[in-house]
Amino acid sequence: MSILPYIGIVVTLIIVILLARPMGSYIARAFDYTPGRLDRWFGPLEKGIYRIGGIRQDNQTWKQYAAAVLISNSILILIVYLIFRLQDKLPLNPADIGAMSPDLAFNTAVSFMTNTNLQHYSGESGLSLFSQMTAIVFMMFVSPATGIAVAIAFIRGLAGKPLGNFFVDLTRALTRILLPIATVAAIILIGLGVPQTLQTGVTAQTLEGAQQQIATGPMGTFLAIKELGNNGGGFMGANSAHPFENPGGVSNMLQIMMMMLVPVSLPFTYGKMVGNRKQGRVLFVSMMMMFIVMLSVSLFSEHQGNPLIQQAGIQQGTGSMEGKEVRIGVEQSSFYSVVTTASETGAVNTMHDTLTPIAGMVAIGNMMLNTVFGGSGVGILNVLMYAIIAVFLSGLMVGRTPEFLGRKIEGKEMKLIAVTLLIQPLLILAPTAIALMTYPNTISNPGYHGLTQVLYEFTSAAANNGSGFEGLSDNTIFWNVSTGAVMFIARYFSMVTLLAVAGSLLMKKPVPETSGTLRTDQPLFGVVFVVAVVIVGALTFFPALVLGPIAEQLTL
């Protein structure tokens, strides 16, 4: 075992931590409606977009904002569904790929619009070049932009300001954040070896005299927004384990940084926007602590390797190599699996199905908690929901009306939050139980691991993550429809309820802070926040985890 890969992990994390605060301030400035320096750069382009789009730059109420999100996203789902259904008749289909079935097209359209990118098809054989370059890439830009917009609107509400205009925020997320960074990243990734061509394949004469078909495509541009937007869907079936989609150690490190960039910055954006930077920092540190615990457990487990391989007389000096790539190695694969599930990206550079049971549990645990940074925008939304729960619990314990940022948290807000909190385990556990009872034949791995496969699929759908235990035969009507519905509800239900909370808090008069007010910008609050996350998460999901990964580990 070498120490060098660990230095690689530490260096990556230090760079990410150093980027978080300046990036967070940048995002806050990017969405500030008062004219500033950034308008000189982006103003003319954005004005053009507003004019062509017919966007009136007025503030929306929470209902108008939520309606704009739902209507725009639904229309795009419909358009993209049609593209998938008609891809055999549309242009740019050199590989002659057939139309998607209705259930798979529904699943894929919802999956990419909800920032999930669960893929029940394989990129090489399931999508035409036209579908990849239009439907998929467009969704990969618009869906993180939607998430960021809603998060910004929610934070504005907490800060006591009007929520803003959805279409303006969507445009700004694209012009000021996603497009510029993705452009630079794409060019760097291509330089590192990611193909960028409109040819879908070449044929090679191999050394042994056989023919090898090699699929290629415009992968650099695809990969950049896949990681930066916390999308995670692969151009190829093997995702970032594919050597074209992740040619080496540096491209792997860059992908990890891109996945983390927006989620780690948003706590600082929040701190700046509500005028309480210390609180943003407390949330950031709390999440980073949880992240490091998760990472350590995963690394430890992957290093042990598989005891059954050990028993067959094989030395596993490098750790568990099944489902992993040599150039990336065990440590960077484990690191990637923790980052992709913490940031709800869903890209994989190792097959999660083959992870050692405890490392698999870390991946699934990150998605169940959904608060270890979380995805573009929706992560901070969820985190702030838990922060309000932490305030509420503390308020109950000392017998005071809980306050958050000087506004009273009352029955109406708590009801909305409680429903949001309850819908997630319902969306995961109920369909898991149904699937286990009705379609056990879709499970590919026997024993306890089979239960984990099903649990993972619905957890990934409900967390809008998109990674999978891919052994599952999931391109069936049952899986396409059920996970499609779970992804849709999980994404939009919490967006609407939390916008309602923001709308309600906005109407309240601020109460002055007294000596009895719970300070939410102190380390103690960070502890309360983590305890709230862990208790709620652990109580809900621990039994399922015992039956799946823990039982598998104990019986190896």
Binding site: L4, G8, I49, I52, G53, I71, S72, I75, I79, S122, E124, T134, V137, F138, V142, L174, L179, T183, A186, I187, I190, L192, G193, V194, Q196, T197, V202, A204, T206, L207, Q212, Q213, T216, T221, M236, G237, A238, P243, F244, G248, M253, N306, L308, I309, A312, I314, T318, E322, G323, V326, R327, G329, Q332, T350, T354, T356, P357, H449, E552, L556
Partner: protein, 191 residues
Amino acid sequence: MKNVWITLRTSAILFVMCCVLYQLVITGIARVVMPHQAAGSLIYNSNHDVIGSELIGQSFTDPHYFQGRVSSVEYNANGSGSPNYAPSNPELIKRIEESVVTWQKQNPSVPVASLPVDLITNSGSGLDPDITPQAAAAQIPRISKLTGLSAEQLESIVSNNTTPAQLGIFGEPAVNVLKLNLAVQQLRAQS
């Protein structure tokens, strides 16, 4: 209804930016500035025919060549993936035991205890172009015996085709099997 109209119009202009301009402009830049990478890091023979890609593994069944990792897709790069065997799946252990038997047959002088684990595990993509330096070293006795090339010659081409972890700390040292076997082929043609 107002939202529908705004969505359609805004989507049209954003589509032009995010799909048309973003992808086509970068494709153009890549083609001019980095044509080798953009096309898929292809390797050509002296007749300018494509014989593979630096980044994509090839199937080597002939024991005269260095062999790569287990691939359930048999290195058909028109697809990718792994069989997704869980650590507890009996099929995994069965496959590994079969690989060990084959190994012993082909490499009688190398004990199973020094058989590197990457040679008997399926890569994530099924297209892994690399093996570990240990896995290359373990195959040297066999190839030397079959081809008549000396162990020193083979050790030297292995080290020539080994790339260290990038920037020293990202990823792992790896030996590119296709490039290594091209060197084997060249040495055999010379001798």
